[in-house]
């Protein structure tokens, strides 16, 4: 029964309501128990498929655990990050939590909202709160995904950049970062 239900859902381009399904199945004894099968699908899914109730009907969705793979199929070709975005990310990573004006001050140029948005869409930065000063500027921090992407155990494992006294710069993983 589950497979029949799946066949219907998979062949349909739009969500199927309970009423619609009931019409299709009728009271044919062959299809008895489809409601139970629907419930089971809702809770258990089926392989890479999830059943969700949206817009008044049931529709299948691919389990989000496959998102990264799907992005490879549907996403464009990966591009590199612009210098501005890279620097912004660096400031947020090393100075977090940090406000937009602070990032601007550090980089010496105005920061377009687009760059923050771009980094946010990548899932690398997020707003952790607001500084309680007039205007309540957003406080930007890096996300767990940021750590994951760069294979960092924690923010403490960000390489230390020492500017010391006249420019001795060394990466030492065990030291805490600014």
């Amino acid at each position: 029964m589950r497979e029949r239900l799946l066949a219907l859902l998979l062949s349909s381009g739009e969500p199927l309501s309970s009423d619609h399904l009931a019409t299709v199945f009728g009271d044919d004894p062959d299809f008895a128990g489809w409601e139970a099968a629907l419930d089971a699908l809702l809770t258990e899914g089926y392989g890479p498929l999830q059943l969700v109730f949206v817009a008044g009907g049931y529709r299948l969705r691919i389990h989000p655990c496959h998102n990264t793979l799907l992005a490879r199929l549907h996403g464009g070709t990966p591009r590199s990050l612009s210098k501005a975005a890279l620097e912004t990310l660096a400031v947020i990573a090393y100075q977090q939590p940090v406000t937009r004006p602070e990032i601007e001050q550090r980089r010496g140029v105005a920061l377009s909202a687009q760059i923050l948005q771009q980094l946010q869409e990548r899932g690398w930065i997020t707003v952790a709160g607001h500084r309680e000063t007039p205007g309540r500027p957003a406080l930007w921090v890096t996300t767990p995904e940021f750590l994951e992407h760069f294979s960092l155990v924690s923010l403490e494992s960000l390489p230390v950049v020492q500017t010391g006294n006249g420019g001795v710069h060394r990466d030492s993983p065990q030291d805490a970062a600014g």
Binding site: I62, N67, R79, P101, E104, F150
Partner: protein, 281 residues
């Protein structure tokens, strides 16, 4: 099966009478069916369904189990004209092509009656050849159409899986290594901006935000009635001072030291937050 029934399925190949299998030199072994009987409603079906005179002709030839390469022109012409006549009798509109075909058939018939010129054995001189070619081309198209229609078709013989939705996908991650981030940071530390951005700290006396907030709150308390926004803004102030005043009011509203209250005469007034205005803040 009535002779027109196989035509009505809309698909050329389906329902063809099985009797057509037996042929000897284009002549059937069994007796011909009563080919010229035209069922009452058949003609309308024909004229709607037949794509043109060539198809009607091909259909006649096939129904009589004739050989395309050896068409008995006189007989075919006679039947063809019968159909046209019947169609006219019923006041059906006939496309000009049907009449053109009739003329062509008549011409072929006439040429066949002429004594064959010398070396007439050459097949190329058979006046029926061009007609045969065209009929064969049409027959091929019909065969191909039938073959195509016999293929399994989506939505008829099978259903494809409609693309299944997925969650919003993570955008393709840019190719960034940790060293890039570190390098970016190091560059910022090494080369601090030569000219830091001007920072508006609002320190000067007439611009101080906090100071302005205090002043505003004092004004509101003193008036002890809801004030219009214009009453609170400093008169003859420059743009910056106005902006700071507005910011101060907004900040006081946010901190709920001031409140917006609706006035009896319509519009809004700014009032000090107290028991009276508390509910409307």
């Amino acid at each position: 099966m009535p002779p027109w029934a196989w035509r009505m399925g809309g698909v050329v190949a389906e329902g063809r009478p099985p009797a057509c299998a037996i042929q000897v030199l284009g002549r059937p072994m069994e007796s011909l069916p009563d080919g010229l009987f035209i069922p009452p409603d058949a003609l309308e079906v024909f004229l709607e369904d037949f794509s043109g005179p060539l198809e009607l002709l091909l259909w006649l030839i096939r129904r009589n189990r004739m050989d395309i390469r050896d068409i008995p022109v006189a007989e075919v012409t006679r039947q063809y004209l019968r159909y046209l006549h019947e169609a006219r009798r019923r006041n059906l509109e006939l496309a000009a092509e049907y009449l053109l075909m009739a003329a062509w058939l008549a011409e072929i018939k006439a040429r066949m009656l002429l004594p064959a010129p010398v070396a007439a054995e050459d097949e190329d001189l058979d006046p029926r050849l061009e007609l045969a070619r065209r009929l064969e081309a049409l027959a091929l198209v019909q065969g191909q159409t039938a073959a195509l229609n016999a293929l399994p078709q989506a939505g008829r013989d099978f259903w494809v899986v409609r693309p299944v939705a997925h969650h919003a996908l993570p955008p393709t991650l840019p190719q960034v290594a940790l060293t890039d981030v570190v390098h970016g940071w190091r560059q910022l530390l090494l080369d601090p901006p030569r000219k830091p951005l001007p920072v508006h700290t609002l320190t000067s006396a007439h611009m101080g935000l906090r100071q302005r907030m205090v002043v505003l709150l004092r004004i509101c308390r003193r008036k002890s009635r809801p004030c219009l926004l214009a009453e609170l803004l400093p008169p003859l102030a420059d743009r910056l001072a106005l902006a700071v005043s507005l910011l101060a009011i907004l900040e006081l509203l946010r901190q709920q030291a001031l409140a917006l209250v609706e006035h009896e005469s319509g519009g809004w007034r700014v009032a000090v937050m107290n028991e009276r205005t508390g509910g409307s803040g």
